[in-house]
Every structure is written in C-alpha cells, then in structure tokens.
C-alpha cells in the first residue's frame, strides 16, 4: 500500500524525492534519522489522519482518517520508521515537553531564553526585584549525546542601587543511556561545569568552579509526563560556595493531540532544604511546535524569609524543525 498510495509523493524509499512530483513542497526525508527520530509516533499518526494542517504542515498532504482505521494508520507509521536504517537513535516517543527547571532526559537541538523575575517583600524593608536571563544553546552530538552552553545575565536589586552583569557561564554534556520505544522511558546521565565568569564581589557569580554531575529520567504513564532529575553541586572552593543536592520532579499533561497544544504541569523543586512548587503552562507558538513558550511561578514552600515568589519561564526554538507549512 505504500507503493500505491504514498510513494507518489514520499518516494518508494521514503526520501521524498520523486522524479515527477505532483506536489510543490518537498516532504520530510524519512531516511534521515537525525530529523525523524525525535518525532513522537503520535504526531505522525495525526499527520496521516488529519493531513498536513493537523501538525502545522502543508495542506498538500491529505487526511486519511475517513478511509483508514487507527490500526492501519499505526501500521503506516511503523513502515515509515523502517526507512531510518540506523539503530541506536532514541525514539521520539521519549521526547517529552521541557519543564522549566527540571532538566529533560532527551537530547535536543534548540535555543532557549529563560527569564526569571524574583520579587521579595520583607517586613519593614523595601521590596526587591531581581531579574535574570539565561541564553542556552543545545546541540546534539551523535545519536544519544548533547552538549549545552548557558550564558546568564543577572540584575540584582540592592534597594539603594542595582548591580547587573554577566553571571557564571556553564557548559554541560548529557548522554541518553537508556531509551525504550514501546513504553516510553528514558534515563540520561550528564555533567555540568560552572565557570566563575560572574563577578563574585558584585554578587553576580559564585567565584569558584562548580562540578555538577546529574541524572535525569522521564516516562509517559497513561498520558501523564513524569520527569525527574537529581544533581550534585560540588564547588572547587567550598569557602565561596556550598555543596548542594538538587532534586526536581515534574508531572504534566497535554490538553490535546496537536503538536502546539497547551501542556499543563507542576514541578517540585528542591535544593538542599529549600523546597518550592512551580505550577506552569506551556504552549507551542507555531503549528509545528518548533517555537514554544512556557510560563510558571516558583512558590517557596519554606525558608520564605530569603526567598520570594519567582516568575520563571522559557522561550524555545528547535532550530532543525520546520517552522511552519511551506504552503
């Protein structure tokens, strides 16, 4: 059936390159594992059922939901997966929506901007507003690894004056150790190195290298995303910065099957004894979901004298994904 129905636009080998195309857009190359494996099966099933517009792509792909059963559509998706001939790529069914603070386990190619606004109101003291931005670049390496560069900018409110500047730059490496395709479960190990580029005297940086190994895992349990992360922060100079144990957990759920749907979630964030809850929402901003934004509020559960409520979020751009339909 691939030959009779699909090959005329997608080619017999799934490459999307046909001799005399009957359409004006070029379909995704299904033989390119780098592009296809991060996609979850559900998005492909939706593209076949509803046509291109169901996943933010060209209307030249028709919808088959009135002529194929769900089982048949699933069968086609399995056939398309076979066009990627390389083993070892982690399945896109493990590519869960990114929480704001918890590190996700799936490797990504993306740019991120993470703003945070902290507002502390103390009794008989002026309220203070701290702002920070972190610019992040993530790049996959090989089939299962990823490297990340994070550049923070912070602005601290000292009531009478404000100090702003570059914080501590961080470099991280992450590797997906285990990723299953059927029952989505993924475990990754990683390590982050914090470089003391921020001015310690100004309070913008820690003033020491910090070595941060971490483990992160995720699973899809009956339409609920569960993601957890444990990280150990080991500063080279313990006079300047404290050791810390960081533990984060996220539970969330999509509100519809569209790739750019609203996803609601709740994080539990802990650092040593400081605990917080961060309810959040995420939304894809283009039909394909290549551009997405998330907004949350980090509410301290204890140690509130030093910690106020913090508004957090991110703007995300998966730069290898098509932005929107070509036509």
């Amino acid at each position: 059936m691939w030959g009779a129905w699909c090959a005329r636009c997608h080619a017999g080998d799934g490459s999307g390159k046909v001799n005399e195309p009957t359409i004006t857009v070029e379909p995704m190359d299904f033989t390119e594992c780098k592009v296809t494996t991060p996609e979850p099966d559900a998005d492909w099933e939706r593209a076949i059922a509803k046509g291109g517009p169901g996943v933010g792509l060209s209307s030249e792909m028709p919808g088959f939901e009135d002529s194929l059963t769900a089982a048949q559509i699933s069968g086609f998706v399995s056939h398309i997966r076979g066009f990627c001939k390389e083993a070892g790529w982690p399945s896109g069914n493990n590519n869960f929506p990114r929480p704001i603070i918890t590190e996700k386990a799936f490797p990504e190619n993306e740019f991120l901007l993470l703003p945070a606004v902290n507002h502390t109101r103390k009794r008989q003291a002026p309220s203070l507003t701290d702002v920070s931005f972190v610019g992040v670049y993530e790049r996959r390496i090989g089939k299962r690894s990823m490297v990340e560069f994070a550049v923070p900018f912070a602005s601290h409110d000292h009531s009478a004056f404000r100090i702003s500047g570059l914080g501590d730059v961080a470099v991280a490496f992450k590797h997906a150790l285990y990723a299953s395709s059927a029952a989505p479960r993924i475990v990754s190990l990683g390590v982050e190195a914090v470089v003391p580029t921020g001015n310690h005297d100004d309070g913008l940086g820690h003033g020491t290298f910090i070595f941060e190994p971490f483990i992160t895992a995720g699973a899809l349990l009956r339409d609920w995303y569960v993601q957890v992360q444990f990280k150990s922060e080991l500063p080279a100079n313990t006079d300047r910065a404290d050791r810390a144990l960081v533990y984060n957990a996220y539970v969330g759920r999509d509100t519809s099957a569209a790739p750019n749907t609203w996803t609601v979630g709740l994080e539990f964030n802990g650092e040593n004894r400081e605990l917080a809850l961060t309810p959040q929402v995420r939304k894809g901003l283009t039909g394909t979901g290549a551009l997405a934004a998330s907004l949350g509020v980090m509410i301290p559960l204890n140690e509130r004298q030093e910690r106020g409520v913090r508004w957090v979020g991110y703007l995300l751009w998966e730069f290898l994904e098509p932005f929107r339909a070509a036509k």
Partner: protein, 246 residues
C-alpha cells in the same frame, strides 16, 4: 365580477395554477366565472419575468493535458475542459448569477473523481451544504478544496474506488478543487444562495420566476471574464441577452 374579487378567490393573489381560481369560483354565474379565471391567468403569467441568453467567446478550446501518472486508468491524455467552446463560439461551464434573487440549490451535492477528472467540473452549491466526494477510480485521489484566498478548506484522501467522504462547504464563495496526486485535475464549486445556473454545451442559460426589478447579472468562468451588468426584468417581457466573455 366585482363580487368575485371581493370574496378573495384563492389563486388570484398567489402564483398558483389556473385550476385554483376555478375551485374558488362560486356564487357567480358560470360564464362570468370562466371569464374571471381567464383574466386572472393572464395577470398571473405576467407577474414575473425571466432572464435568458447565450454566452459566447472568441477564445479557442485548449490542447489536451498530458497525463503524467496512472495512465492505465486516466489514459495517455485528457481533454482540457478549462475552456469548453463549440464551433459557433458558444461557451459551456459558465455560471450565471442573478444577485438579489434568492434561490436555494441542493442541500447536498456530490463531486465524483471519474477517470481522473472531477465530475461535474463546475456546479452551484448552496451555502452550508454537505459536499460528498467519491471516487470511481482504483487509484489514490485527493480532493483538495481551496478558497479564493488560497486557504485549504479540506483535503481528503480517496485511496480506493467506492469511498464517499462528506464535508460541509460553509460560506466559501468560489471553491477550487484540485488533486495532489493528479495535478491537471480541476473542479469548481460556486457557493451562493442567489439564483444561478451553469451553461451547457449550447451556451444557453435561463432563470425563470424573477420578480420585476433591476438586478446585477454576474457571470463566472474559470478562465474567462466579463463585466457584471445591470439588467431590468419586466413582467411578461422576456430578455434574451448575448454575453461575450474574454
């Protein structure tokens, strides 16, 4: 005579047939009654007019389209029906619309993929009607319905013969049908609740039961154009327009 009309004989006010006038004709002498019936029939027939005419063009018919795929079902080439014109220049598949005269077309209509062509190529569809797309061909067709601004209303796959898929047309205006597996295929649906008719091979059109008045006559064709014209319909006086499209 006067007494007949005072009673309010059914049939003289509405556009009913003559027999209704006869039924209501009581309480007067038979001869006088028949006379009243004949008079009322003349008044009935003269209360509406009609708009008729012929559409012609000097444009020539087109060369056949080359069939690039599925030749076993479609043939090696197919006639190009973007312009269907006979030796006298009479144009088929032109849609004549009389704006201001509301007329309901069918609430449901069918478009068939038959030997790699949309049949009928051009049809009038009522707003919010259900469009049933079906295929007689044992090959994959996709019926892609697009609005004039390029936006796709729906694109349904018809992988085998005999499947029928129904979609609502909304208030679409002029809808272009194409097929993403057979790019030469074209069809059109003119969505309107105005009185409208599609010309046949003889280029003729006729819109009857038009109340007297002034209307705008628009003619749509997929390849040719003509300016809209104002026409005045008088009861009892037929029009016979000759319209040229370029």
């Amino acid at each position: 005579m006067g007494r007949l009309f005072a009673v309010g004989i059914p049939g003289t006010i509405s556009r009913r047939k003559v027999s209704a006038g006869v039924l209501g004709c009581w309480g007067a002498r038979v001869l006088g009654c028949l006379g009243a019936v004949v008079l009322s029939a003349q008044v009935l027939g003269a209360q509406t007019g009609s708009v008729t005419g012929t559409i012609t063009t000097t444009a020539k018919g087109l060369a056949p389209v080359r069939v690039t795929i599925d030749q076993k079902v479609c043939g090696a080439d197919l006639p190009d029906h973007a312009i269907v014109v006979d030796a006298q220049g009479r144009l088929a598949n032109a849609v004549v619309v009389l704006t201001g005269v509301k007329r309901a077309a069918a609430a449901e209509t069918t478009i068939t993929n038959d030997k790699c062509a949309f049949v009928p190529r051009v049809q009038i569809v009522r707003p919010n009607a259900n469009v049933k797309t079906t295929s007689k061909d044992p090959i994959l067709h996709t019926t892609n319905a697009q609005l004039e601004n390029g936006r796709t209303l729906f694109n349904v796959a018809l992988p085998i013969a005999g499947i029928t898929i129904t979609k609502p047309i909304g208030n679409a205006g002029n809808v272009r049908l194409s097929c993403n597996t057979h790019p030469w295929m074209r069809g059109w649906m003119v969505v309107t609740d105005d009185a409208a008719v599609v010309t046949g091979a003889d280029g003729r059109f006729a819109i009857d039961n038009v109340p007297p008045g002034t209307y705008e006559l628009r003619i749509w064709h997929e390849s040719l154009k003509s300016a809209p014209q104002k026409i005045t319909v008088t009861a009892g006086k037929p029009t016979d327009l000759a319209v040229q499209m370029k």
